[in-house]
Amino acid sequence: MAYFILKRLVQSIFVMLAVAFLAFSLFRFVGDPVSQMTGVETSVQDQEQLREELGLNDPFLVQFYRFTADMVQGDFGFSYRTRQPVSEMIASRIPATLELGLVALMISLIVGIPAGVYTALRPRGIATQAILMTTLVGVSIPTFVIGIVLIFLFGVQLGWLPTFGRSGTVDLGGWSTSFLTLDGWRSLILPAVTLGVYQLTLTMRLVRAEMMEVMRSDFIRFAIARGIPFRSLYYRHALANTMVPVITIIGLQFGGVIAFSIVTESVFQWPGMGLLFLESIRFVDIPVMGVYLVVIAFFFVLVNMLVDMLYLLIDPRLRVKEAV
């Protein structure tokens, strides 16, 4: 196990370096940060001097080396836009994104798994057809449209829920959480549902497909023949075997939810990392964009590693292989 983790950690450093390199080579095409940082009356010479101070005139590899070397030493630099330390900015935005992603994932699991099991066990039922149709619609509408529809329905027309921002947070030693107040939950619901809808459909369809596959397998048939009660059959034998691929996907989905919460965060003005990234692109805030991408790559790596470790726990055969 220790060897496995170590191996993965070494791999992940290379992944993150590769992401940083790719990101950095793309930033050359994003635009000019200096014209975003200065007003119209700033002379061309002053702009040039600022460009020199920021090291933007240096060769690409020098800039990349400086960025990586600073990162390794824990120096994340300053934002071109707000002039704040990037590490503080990212750290203050992480709780908002993680909590949003977590709740969205929970919604997708709590609704998606039972719905998947149900539709697998009653493939021809009317309710099944209805669920499948609805989720198909859910997955075909772009996220931002779902978000805007929810805002206009529950925020503007009914006035039940806030339409933007993250209110009612409580500070727990640097981690601002929405989970402890009613206001926090109220502002969390719409964005989490928006972000969760797509994941929910994926989870449900995956569980359904896997479950149907498992139900056709020999060991279930033998189990039926042995007269094992259906409840135990479905939920203990069949569902457990369904979960290995499902956990993989869920793990990857969580990475995806975090990384692609950009759209949802923008529609709801949710002050998470996605919104920060979007603002940074608009202002060509290269230090923030660079750190964001590396942090996101780190999340993906971490989540994948956790998923692999869960495999080992769930499927005994893999443990044997790993031991050998």
Partner: protein, 526 residues
């Protein structure tokens, strides 16, 4: 007994009336698309920053609701006698939010800070050669040449407390990192900062020490940047915010139709125009004419101006909300040239004839560059203009992009024709002459936005004279000459003045100023 009850009722009733009329505890929430980048008044010379900080910091002078200059921390000012420059007589008894007394030392310190080479606002002080403290409440700004517009040009020069800035290591603005003044304030203005969470929420509260007469009834003002315009509109319509600036043109009708909301429409001082690559020897994006640059011929530029049907653009793209422009500033700006108030009319036949005369009877193709996220409906405008150009034979190959990589492209001369919007920071015609019409001169910071390098020796000669002329009639005559020259030569094709569209709840009274600044001390909630 009866008397006593009666008396108590009266007291109770009057208390209620008092509470209502005093507008007791009014929280005002507002949103805008852009968060001010910093709380440092000298670090970034941009509208979001200066507009926001005008509620916290004050300058020697300020602009009133109609953009006219009035005294602020200076009670009066007059030209110096015997030398070039201005004397400012400072207001006494003013304190900063932290209780420190305001005096001439703070003015001198702020001048030194704002004119330092790391300050983005230093161009305001380019004409200043020296600042002298005469006594605690008198300061002289000496200029190298006569400078009639100097007080107008420093309306956004905000004054910091010297001791506060020095004690907190903020004696200079931080250009590429943070310092104390980036997140903290200490101004003399009507409001002060209660909390700041960049990009999320900034809360202002009234400054109890403020010297001025309070016209607002706001006890707390919460600002939230909302980048997505649909989200901003929803936040207004759901009642979560009281005011938003700006809203998209196409949403104005939707807000007006709802009970309890209003749209504030006005005109910004920004003129939208097309510019040409005057200096380019050949077209970059043409498929048929590559050896010469037809736009160097004034007849071709006239043809381009005659091809634009401004009424149709107003009707179709701007829902009747724009005003056609004849020159680089709108009417009402000082220096606006009355004798040159007519624009080249829409006349496609004339345009075709001019093109034929210039040797292009079948027209030619060229590249037109536009932004798609900088000005109101910029991309739609360019599409419409491109089809109008095509109707006379000017086949524009349109390319649009975000503003973040637009300016670098223009600076690299990568265009045949381009879109530009200009708002004169000083509210005087001298500003666009300096930046758009004077030939490029990096040393003197002249013509820095004159991408096509339009050059006319007479214009270059007149600009310094305009800057130094004290007599308003003589000055206007020189400006009229410049406007006339550049109109005849079609240096640019001015299109229209950009509209300002804000939206608010009905019970909010506020003032829309033409520079798109939002001034909190003019807000009352009924």
């Amino acid at each position: 007994m009866i008397n006593s009850t009666h008396w108590r009722t009266t007291v109770l009733a009057s208390t209620i009336v008092f509470a209502a009329s005093a507008g007791y505890s009014e929280t005002f929430r507002w949103a805008s698309t852009t968060d001010p980048q910093t709380m440092d008044p000298h670090a970034v010379n941009s509208t979001p920053v200066l507009s926001f900080l005008n509620n916290i910091y004050e300058g020697l002078v300020r602009r009133d609701r109609d953009m006219a200059i009035e005294g602020s921390l200076a009670e009066s000012w007059e030209p110096l006698e015997g030398e070039n420059g201005w004397r400012f007589n400072l207001r006494q008894g003013v304190t900063f939010a932290n209780g420190a007394t305001f005096n001439a030392e703070d003015v001198l310190f702020s001048y030194e800070r704002a004119s330092n080479e790391v300050a983005d606002v230093r161009s305001w002080f380019a004409p200043v050669s020296e600042v002298r403290v005469v006594d605690d409440y008198t300061v002289d700004f000496i200029t190298a040449a006569p400078n009639p517009l100097f007080p107008d040009s420093i309306a956004n020069f905000m004054i910091l407390d010297k001791d506060w800035a020095e004690t907190n290591d903020a004696a200079l603005p931080a250009r590429d990192s943070e310092n104390f003044a980036t997140m903290n304030v200490n101004g003399t203005g009507p409001f002060t900062l209660q909390s700041r969470d960049p990009g999320v929420q900034t809360i202002l509260v009234p400054n109890a020490q403020w010297w001025g007469e309070v016209e607002h009834n706001v006890t707390e003002a919460i600002f939230t940047p909302i980048g997505n315009s649909a989200t901003g509109l929803a936040a207004l319509l759901s009642g979560e915010i009281d005011f938003i600036q700006p809203i998209p043109l196409q949403d104005a009708a939707q807000v007006e139709e709802r009970d309890g909301f209003k749209v504030l429409e006005g005109e910004e001082t920004r003129v939208i125009m097309f510019g040409f690559g005057h200096e380019h020897d050949q077209l970059l994006y043409s498929t048929d004419v590559t050896d010469v640059n037809p736009f160097q011929d004034v007849r071709v530029r006239q043809a381009a101006a005659h091809a634009i049907d401004m009424d149709a653009i107003d009707r179709v793209i701007f829902r009747g909300k724009i005003e056609a422009a004849s020159q680089l500033v709108p009417e009402g700006i000082s220096g606006y040239s009355e004798p040159n108030a007519t624009r080249l009319e829409y006349d496609p036949e004339r345009a075709k004839a001019l093109l034929a005369e210039a040797g292009y009877p079948d027209g030619f193709s060229f590249g037109l560059k536009c932004t798609n996220d900088r000005y109101i409906n910029d991309e739609a405008l360019c599409r419409a203009a491109a089809s109008m150009f095509a109707a006379v034979g000017l086949n524009a190959e349109l390319s649009t992009g975000p503003v973040r990589d637009y300016w670098p492209q223009l600076r690299e001369d990568d265009f045949d024709m381009y879109l530009l919007g200009w708002s004169p920071g000083t509210f005087d015609m001298e500003h666009p002459i300096r930046f758009l019409l004077h030939s490029q001169d990096d040393e003197k910071n002249l013509g820095s936005w004159n991408f096509g390098n339009y050059a006319n020796a007479r214009v270059d000669e007149l600009l310094p004279m305009v800057q130094e002329e004290i007599d308003p009639t003589a000055r206007q005559a020189m400006i009229d000459e410049i406007v006339s020259i550049t109109q005849d030569e079609v240096a640019y094709v001015p299109l229209y003045t950009q509209p300002l569209i804000w939206a608010a709840k009905n019970e909010v009274d506020l003032t829309q100023r033409a520079d798109n600044f939002f001034i909190l001390r003019w807000v009352t909630i009924n």
